[in-house]
């Protein structure tokens, strides 16, 4: 476990050394400034819009940083040949993979927390009310980061870095659209068509289920606790599945 934690720590330090989180946080600060400018329009009651924009932009940037960071872990280590001295030590490939996953997961969760703190501050400054759904949405967003990290890390042993980033970003950001399309198309299908759509639907990770932000924007009540518990299990299952598939491939990879 110590070795896994050590690799995770190095992954986090490396990520901050590359200054990715800083760049993203500065971008978010600029967006905060932009949202603050809405008060200059002199139109009251745009709180919903500020919330909407804030959640959308920080969500997008959090996914971006998680995917980019996870996608480059193993390919970069292999390309720079830094993986070989690491594996020469008494560290297994399994521990390397787990350490990388843990590092990316913690870093992405920290970014989500920082973004959320920024948003919360902005809402307080602009007197935009925040309900308990906000905190639920932060929790679910952090959970989704662990699925995305696992998915991207696994795909990084199958795809090129560019391909991985594209596929992972699409799955993470457009899952709502994919899911709605599958559900709609299914209504007009019969026989094997339904079977294909059902298989696709159940196989794909439904990251849209981890987005509670619209409920916060439109003042819906908080989600029941059993839903949060079920989604925690869902995230754990998918993360484990992705990790298992990725580790299996990484173990058999001819380095």
């Amino acid at each position: 476990m110590e070795k896994v934690l050590g690799i995770a720590q190095v992954t986090i330090i490396e990520s901050f050394r590359r200054k990715d989180p800083y760049v993203v946080l500065i971008l978010a600060a600029l967006i905060v400034f932009g949202a603050g400018l809405f008060s200059r329009f002199g139109t009251e009651g745009l709180g919903k819009f500020v919330k909407d924009v804030g959640f959308t932009v920080t969500g997008l940037l959090a996914v971006l940083i998680c995917v980019v960071t996870a996608a480059r872990q193993l390919p970069n280590e292999i390309q720079n040949r830094t993986l070989y001295p690491l594996l020469a030590k008494p560290v297994s490939r399994l521990q390397v993979f787990l350490g990388k996953y843990l590092g990316v997961g913690v870093m992405a969760s920290a970014v989500v927390l920082l973004f959320s703190a920024e948003l919360y501050l902005l809402f307080r400054i602009l007197d935009i009310p925040v309900s308990g759904v906000f905190f639920q949405s932060v929790y679910l967003r952090m959970l989704s980061m662990w699925i995305i990290a696992g998915m991207t890390l696994s795909l990084s042993v199958y795809l090129t870095q560019g391909g991985n980033v594209t596929v992972s970003m699409l799955l993470a950001l457009a899952m709502q659209t994919f899911a709605n399309t599958l559900i709609t198309v299914r209504t007009d299908l019969e026989g094997w068509g339904v079977w294909v759509v059902d298989t696709l639907y159940w196989l794909l990770p439904h990251l849209e289920l981890f987005d509670l932000t619209k409920r916060e924007v439109h003042n819906f009540p908080a989600a029941p606790l059993w839903v949060l518990a079920a989604l925690t299990v869902y995230a754990a299952v998918y993360s484990l599945l992705f990790m298992a598939v990725g580790m299996q491939r990484f173990r058999s990879l001819n380095l």
Binding site: A29, D188, L209, K214
Partner: protein
């Protein structure tokens, strides 16, 4: 490393906080003035690719605002039209029931599957608790749309429908007739040929002719109030901006605005016909209501013959039963039988 990280993070949060506070802090010290440009600057702007692209962006954002207002009207509930398979199962589209004319639309099915259509068991149940889902078709308070409309017309002042709808919500739902008037005046300035906005302002003046104080903007500074009082009679282009001081003056102005509105509406209708197009429901409503309120304004002014003529003209060009009713009322008034309009 940890210290650097914590320090940088705290600095960033501080910068973000300051960035958010700046607009609030400077708001009272900023004076907004109309920009003036030389003809050469305007010519240069017309040929600028960068400005053209920025203009496109501005229009796109205005359109996004309009779409967002629809999302917000439905409280985030996404809908779609039923597929053929769903129609076969009896899930049909329908007309919206509780919307004002102009906001009327066809209601579809919830994008998030309702329980009776769902095949996903627990996952479907979870989604209904995570997404903005409500059974049936819901509408939020239209007052919430006002800031959207105000912002959208700032980005694209040519969206004339938003001025009339925004003013309608401001006056009737938010009880802010002064702001409604201000919005319509801005709408006419931006769309001088629009009959819709002109008619809406005429109607607002008529409806508030007994309560003109309500049309006075409390937020206006004294300079503006003095300016309003200094104006003696509205002339030409000043009609829209002039704030009447008596009921008779308000009715007179309403009649002037509505007369102009029906004339422009007729011109527009004929132009539409030549292109084999028709007025939509909202335009039709504005058209016949303009005749109706024109007639009522004349009645208030004691000009019964003109009131009757407005009804006749309205019946000819914008057939509606209320015009017939008004016609009978005016006829009786002429005969001295009744003293109230419908």
């Amino acid at each position: 490393m940890t210290k650097t990280f914590t320090g940088t993070t705290l600095s960033l949060i501080a910068v973000a906080a300051m960035a958010g506070l700046v607009p609030h802090a400077v708001r009272d010290h900023v004076t907004v003035r109309e920009a003036t440009y030389q003809p050469s600057e305007i010519d240069a702007a017309k040929e600028s690719i960068a400005l053209s692209l920025l203009g496109q962006l501005q229009m796109s954002i205005a359109d996004l605002m309009w779409l967002k207002s629809m999302e917000y009207l439905h409280r985030g509930n996404l809908q779609r039209m039923p597929t053929r398979g769903e129609e076969d199962l009896g899930f049909m589209r329908g007309d919206s029931q509780d919307t004002a004319v102009g906001l009327g639309h066809t209601e579809g099915l919830n994008m998030v599957l309702d329980e009776d259509r769902d095949w996903r068991g627990l996952l479907g149940n979870i989604q209904r608790h995570i997404a903005c889902y409500s059974e049936g078709h819901i509408h939020d308070d239209p007052v919430e749309l006002i800031p959207w409309y105000q912002l959208a017309v700032k980005l694209n002042p040519k969206l004339e429908r938003l001025y009339t709808m925004g003013a309608f919500f401001l006056a009737d739902f938010a009880q802010e007739p002064a702001e409604a008037r201000e919005m319509l005046v801005a709408g006419i300035a931006a769309n001088p040929n629009s009959f819709e906005v002109r008619a809406a302002l005429g109607r607002l003046l008529f409806e508030y002719s007994d309560r003109l104080d309500a049309l006075k903007d409390d937020h206006h500074d004294e300079e503006d109030d003095d300016h309003d009082e200094m104006e003696e009679t509205p002339r030409g282009d000043e009609i829209e901006t002039y704030l009447p001081t008596s009921k008779a003056e308000a009715c007179e102005m309403a009649a002037l605005l509505l007369r102009e509105a029906v004339d422009r509406a007729l011109e527009t209708k004929l132009a539409y016909r030549s292109r084999h197009e028709k007025f939509d429901d909202f335009q039709e409503q504005i058209h016949y209501e303009s005749y109706l309120f024109l007639s009522k304004s004349y009645v208030e002014l004691g000009r019964y013959d003109e009131a009757l003529a407005a009804c006749d003209e309205g019946w000819e060009f914008a057939k509606h039963n209320l015009l017939r009713v008004q016609q009978r009322v005016v006829s009786r008034l002429i005969e001295g039988e009744v003293d109230e309009s419908p």
